[in-house]
Point group: C2
Chain length 404, copies 2
């Protein structure tokens, strides 16, 4: 029997052997008093896997981090908010290296065992004087997960933290995670940082495969492929302190580990989507009956990222024509005469004909904090879910005044 | 010597032999008193060419129009605003046919010589009672172009009309056009209707080729490929009354005709981009030095349709990181160390390094009604221009309250 249980107040330091800490180094804004520089580390060396932005302009920090993840082993990550260290030329690469070297000294590790991520304004160099000073003051503790999460937030308004414990036979292990997103997530860039930890013993090869699979149904379903910022980073550290039999592709624990990792990632992905800049609600688009998985995913993502639909959901306007219009340009096979569309449980379009639906009921669905929209293509058996948020005047305000 | 001259107050009825008229049929909103039903026609049969939405869900009217354009000949178009006749099932097809039949009677033509286009809310059936009545009242005249333009507008706030006269040797002819757009144009759907007329004598084959070429550098550069509504329609009618030698691929007049048509289309495309919903300014993105034309176009379109950049331009914020971030995910080859970015004439990024630019100067550029942004990739010789508008709170307001 497998048990998967969410830990109350769980975070990235919930798995055994992980510590974190953060300080306010005044990278964000002088006098903001906000945490903006943090370290997350394991007392033992970890198997590590990562997925990075596909943007052709990557920050020097991402380039450095990618190189080091290729070793398959790491012990820590140093991160900051307020400055993305992107488009900063050669100096940016030197600064990234120095940041990891100082962090390594602080926690007693080798520089090559320390990864890095930054988020914030593009094109501004890292303020290394305050970073040097700040890094020396960080004292990671097993309770530091919440502080670390705060130190990577930018326009995020909610903490995005989770941890779950898995019991399977005599084995038990924990997976934790923190994330930051905001921005409208899609169709545009918003730097997404997600750091996952586990005390499970996992082979590096399986860890990478599992991360890719979990990401495909979670973070990739809130962010249209390729629409990534210069800094997007997703990392998982596995330190093995749970002492389970190593989990590899066909191990007895492989399936439950994947299942638990999927849950952690979907939880964080939804939290990121819900907290899009200026957002007031979460939109969940379920596409069913697609010809294949690729088309189901593409259709769900295209619908959930339609600016027109996002605006209509904000205005509680059951304008389902914006659902079908987005579907039609998603590239997925569609036969209008077979198509059904639902707002919540309310059918609004059936077999190619508009339904004379009860508008009050549909508006009630749209007024919920979570708005489910279902599209049944009736062509095949593939399905996918994508998440997004509504588009509000507040989004425009935030982004019109970001750097100034 | 060729002369291409814009006609003051020119419109779609400026070329010889074209008439138009419109009425208020109360399709938009009862008591709005706005023109919403119109006919544009030629006294002689025309060579005709069209380009249509690539959306897999096409309105029944588009399906009918596409069929009839394949004949290569037509005499008129009947159009309305307020109801898109999209996702209206079989009834929608019957209604579209009836509309053209009544319009044909009004002007004395065959139903198959009459094309059709509709724009407005999706999923609502055409109010045929008021349309039948309205169509019988329309009296097309050579001065009716302005009225016709008004009858196809939805949330448009400005008329989009143009006409130019071409003189080449002993030949002279005129090309006119009207359009409607609005919506944010990209990255989402906004129904775009553009109707062009000319009294030039043009072979149907060349007319189609010329329309495709003009569209590629104009309407396709304000609307990301494939991101089209169920109703997008671009048509050109050529009635030959200018009596010039027929223009075909290698005729003496072919080049000047193409040049003039390009100018008409770029004029209308910019007018459509400038009048995006809630927009306060036009953004023009020039991409230079790309590896090939496809990449130049893709890069220019991706940058101009970034919600983050559009918001920054609205806020007069010279946040050029949003230009490079969008460029990086456009699919175009980029080498950051060779890249230059300009806001107007102000260099903000040179050869991979941020420039310490004068912020006041950059803000001044952003405060203009037309904001030019230039990206020099320094990799090849291909270049392209794309147009868009800023993203404002007003866009969200308009689209949150559209059908309700």
């Amino acid at each position: 029997m497998n048990q998967i249980v969410f830990i109350p107040d769980g975070t990235v330091t919930s798995p055994q052997g992980f510590s974190a800490g953060a300080v306010c180094a005044d990278i964000k804004k002088k006098g903001s008093k906000k945490l903006d520089l943090g370290i997350l580390c394991s007392k033992e060396i970890c198997a590590v896997a990562g997925l990075f932005t596909t943007n052709k302009i990557k920050s020097p920090s991402v380039v450095l981090c990618q190189q080091r993840v290729q070793n398959g082993k790491a012990k820590a990550i140093v991160a900051n908010s307020g400055c993305a260290n992107a488009s900063t030329g050669e100096q940016g690469f030197a600064d990234a290296k120095e940041m990891t070297t100082i962090a390594a000294k602080t926690i007693g590790a080798e520089p090559k065992e320390v990864l890095i991520a930054n988020t914030g304004v593009i094109g501004i160099k890292l303020p290394m004087d305050v970073i040097r000073k700040g890094l020396k003051q960080i004292k990671p503790t097993p309770k530091g997960g919440h502080d670390f999460e705060q130190s990577i937030m930018t326009t995020d308004t909610m903490l995005k933290e989770v941890a779950i414990t898995v019991k399977s036979g005599k084995s038990s292990f924990t997976i934790g995670g923190v994330g930051k997103g905001s921005g409208m997530i899609h169709p545009n860039l918003a730097t997404m940082l997600v750091f996952l930890t586990t005390d499970a013993n996992v082979t590096p090869v399986f860890l990478k495969k599992a991360l890719r699979e979990a990401s495909a149904i979670s973070f990739n379903m809130i962010s249209v492929d390729g629409d990534t910022s210069p800094s997007d980073t997703l990392l998982i550290f596995a330190n093995g302190l749970a002492k389970n039999e190593p989990i590899a592709a066909k191990s007895p624990l492989a399936e439950v580990f994947q299942q638990a990792l999927n849950q952690v990632c979907v939880y964080l992905a939804k939290a990121i989507a819900r907290d899009g800049e200026g957002a007031t609600k979460l939109i969940e688009v379920n596409v069913k009956g697609a010809v294949n998985l690729k088309e189901a995913r593409s259709a769900a993502r295209t619908i959930v990222s339609s600016n027109l639909l996002k605006s209509a959901v904000y205005g509680n306007d059951p304008n389902w024509g914006r659902v079908t219009a987005a579907l039609g340009r998603s590239g997925a096979h569609v036969e209008e005469s077979k198509l059904d569309v639902y707002m919540g449980a309310v059918p609004v379009f059936k077999q190619g004909e508009p339904v004379a639906f009860d508008k009050t009921k549909a508006v009630k669905v749209l007024k919920q904090k979570e708005v489910p929209i279902t599209v049944q293509l009736n062509l095949g058996s593939a399905e996918a879910t994508a998440w997004g948020c509504d588009l509000t005047e507040q989004y425009v305000k935030i982004n019109a005044e970001y750097t100034t």
